[in-house]
């Protein structure tokens, strides 16, 4: 059952480790991001203290966690289409589809490495937070955090597979990814709490799963909220998952069928 996904992880590890400097640059990139927000906090952090009261942390702690968590959103949202496009460009997609491997297995196996790398990023963010910036994660409710993490990946995977369907047919120009990427950072509460925004934008934010995911993870990690205290957020993430996942699988099957009709599986 796990043989094929494990083969994908091994293959991606071997590919990634053949780029020697990649890991060092990754740590460097996380450090630059963290320091950018550290200084933004020094400059403006005091002005939004009131908006962060319910989370019980300062701006820097808030944004460090949401940035670390946001990588998982990126995996769910962007990895499917990026990896499908990469396989098309390498010419290996056709070779993969020639094997008796289920489409769902290929899709989820393709992003496993990205998921592991997002976890590595999370570890780097949190470790730097603890050891360099003395942020406390003592209140964390691990079960709530893991449940939120899982539901976030699932609901964003739905959007990600939808996005991969566009790549399969149109090769470039992916409206799903473009719209979500452009809006979620702005109104989803990743870089600042959504209570800062005008009421109409806060209303719009309710239609994006990222809003519930970020709020829930901040509360679970910093305030130790139990699952029973996060029912609204969990409910919405479940709703998004149930709506998006079947829709996305149906759309990907349709896209694959269309690509097979057009004979364009390896075009990019």
């Amino acid at each position: 059952m796990f043989k094929k996904p494990l083969a994908f992880i091994k293959k991606d590890f071997l590919t990634e480790s053949s780029y020697k400097l990649s890991f060092i640059f990754r740590i460097f990139s996380v450090l630059v991001t963290i320091f950018t927000y550290f200084f933004i906090d020094k400059l403006f952090g005091h002005r939004i203290v009131g908006h962060l009261e319910e989370f019980g942390v300062n701006y820097f702690s808030y944004v460090l966690l949401s940035m670390a968590f946001f990588n998982y959103v990126g995996v769910g949202l962007g990895s499917f289409s990026n990896r499908i496009r990469l396989e098309q460009m390498q010419g290996t997609l056709e070779a993969l589809l020639l094997t008796p491997t289920k489409i769902s297995t290929i899709l989820f196996s393709l992003i496993l490495w990205n998921l592991l790398f997002a976890s590595l990023d999370m570890v780097i963010y949190i470790s730097l937070g603890i050891f360099l910036f003395k942020i406390s994660f003592a209140n964390i409710n691990i079960l709530s955090t893991l449940v939120i993490l899982f539901l976030t990946i699932i609901s964003f995977s739905g959007l990600g597979i939808l996005s991969a369907s566009f790549i399969m047919v149109f090769k470039r120009g992916n409206p799903v990814s473009w719209i979500i990427n452009s809006l979620e950072g702005l109104i989803g509460g990743v870089y600042f709490p959504i209570t800062i925004m005008p009421a109409w934008l806060q209303f719009l934010a309710k239609f994006f799963p990222i809003t519930y995911a970020i709020r829930a993870v901040e509360l679970a990690v910093y305030q130790g909220y139990a699952l029973s205290q996060l029912t609204k957020e969990i409910g919405f993430l479940l709703l998004f998952s149930f709506l998006l996942l079947p829709l996305s699988f149906a759309s990907f099957r349709f896209a694959l069928k269309r690509a097979r009709q057009q004979g364009s599986l390896i075009q990019y």
Binding site: L97, R260, L265
Partner: protein
């Protein structure tokens, strides 16, 4: 002998790709689809080597890709070992092996061995390591652990053939496998397939080429395709009868048959 493949009335049109540029220019002119295959029917028995001959754009690759489940036909049916293409594609995938003419169908940052191990996992092979060693011995591969992008074109083609044999397929689809190979390597490859895979193991092969000499040397059945239409199908003697010339070469037959249309 057991029938391995039956193709009936296979037709495939490719629609011109959708273009935003034309939409912006309000260019709604109807563009005719390109006919890749038209009413192609044939069958193959175990152990036969069918050479599909035709110029570029004749429909050879489309035919192979349809049999390999990579392209869906518009009309007609394909039955491989009793399984229908539209129902049992997973069973068909386990039954066939394909070598495409694309050079880039491997992970170039991985070694040759790592590539084969990965694809062996996709076939769920239990004895993958032994199978890969067996293939290395069979193909006399010395540089098994070199990075794939460092291999010569001939070596890459050998790896493509090794990959297609991982699952012990009964039907091999070879799409111009000798296209980028020098004369000796191509000859060795053809001899290897004929001797080891067809004669000893009874595999069935479909081999596309536009090289008549190569086809004559390798195949025992010939199909002539042009603009998607099947012009002739049979052994060399049968094709000679068609053109009323008992000593005609394959090239001569090809020209005569396709000129008639």
């Amino acid at each position: 002998m057991k029938q391995i493949l039956k193709v009936e009335n296979l037709t495939k049109d490719f629609m011109p790709p959708f273009s935003f540029g034309k939409l912006v220019k309000f260019d709604f002119k109807y563009r005719r689809p390109t006919r890749a295959l038209e009413d192609v029917s044939f069958s193959l028995k175990k152990g036969e080597i069918l050479g599909v001959l035709g110029p570029n754009g004749a429909g050879k690759t489309t035919l192979l890709k349809i049999i390999a489940t990579l392209i869906l036909p518009d009309k007609g049916s394909v039955v491989v070992n009793g399984w229908r293409l539209d129902i049992d594609d997973d069973k068909i995938k386990s039954f066939i092996g394909m070598v495409s003419s694309h050079e880039r169908s491997f992970y170039w940052r991985l070694t040759g061995r790592q590539n084969l191990e990965f694809f062996a996992s996709m076939y769920d092979l239990k004895n993958a390591k032994d199978k890969i060693e067996e293939l290395f011995n069979l193909f006399k591969i010395d540089y098994q652990d070199n990075r794939f992008d460092s291999y010569s074109t001939g070596m890459k083609q050998k790896f493509a053939l090794m990959r297609s044999l991982l699952n012990e397929p009964e039907l091999l689809l070879l799409d111009e496998p000798t296209k980028s190979l020098d004369y000796t390597t191509a000859l060795n490859l053809r001899n290897f397939i004929k001797e080891n895979l067809v004669r000893k193991k009874g595999k069935t092969v479909i081999f596309t080429t536009h090289n008549m000499d190569e086809a004559l040397d390798f195949c025992n059945l010939f199909m002539i395709l042009q603009k998607g239409k099947l012009y002739a199908l049979g052994t060399l003697d049968e094709l000679r009868k068609k053109v009323n010339n008992p000593s005609a070469g394959l090239g001569e037959i090809y020209v005569k048959l396709t000129e008639r249309s």
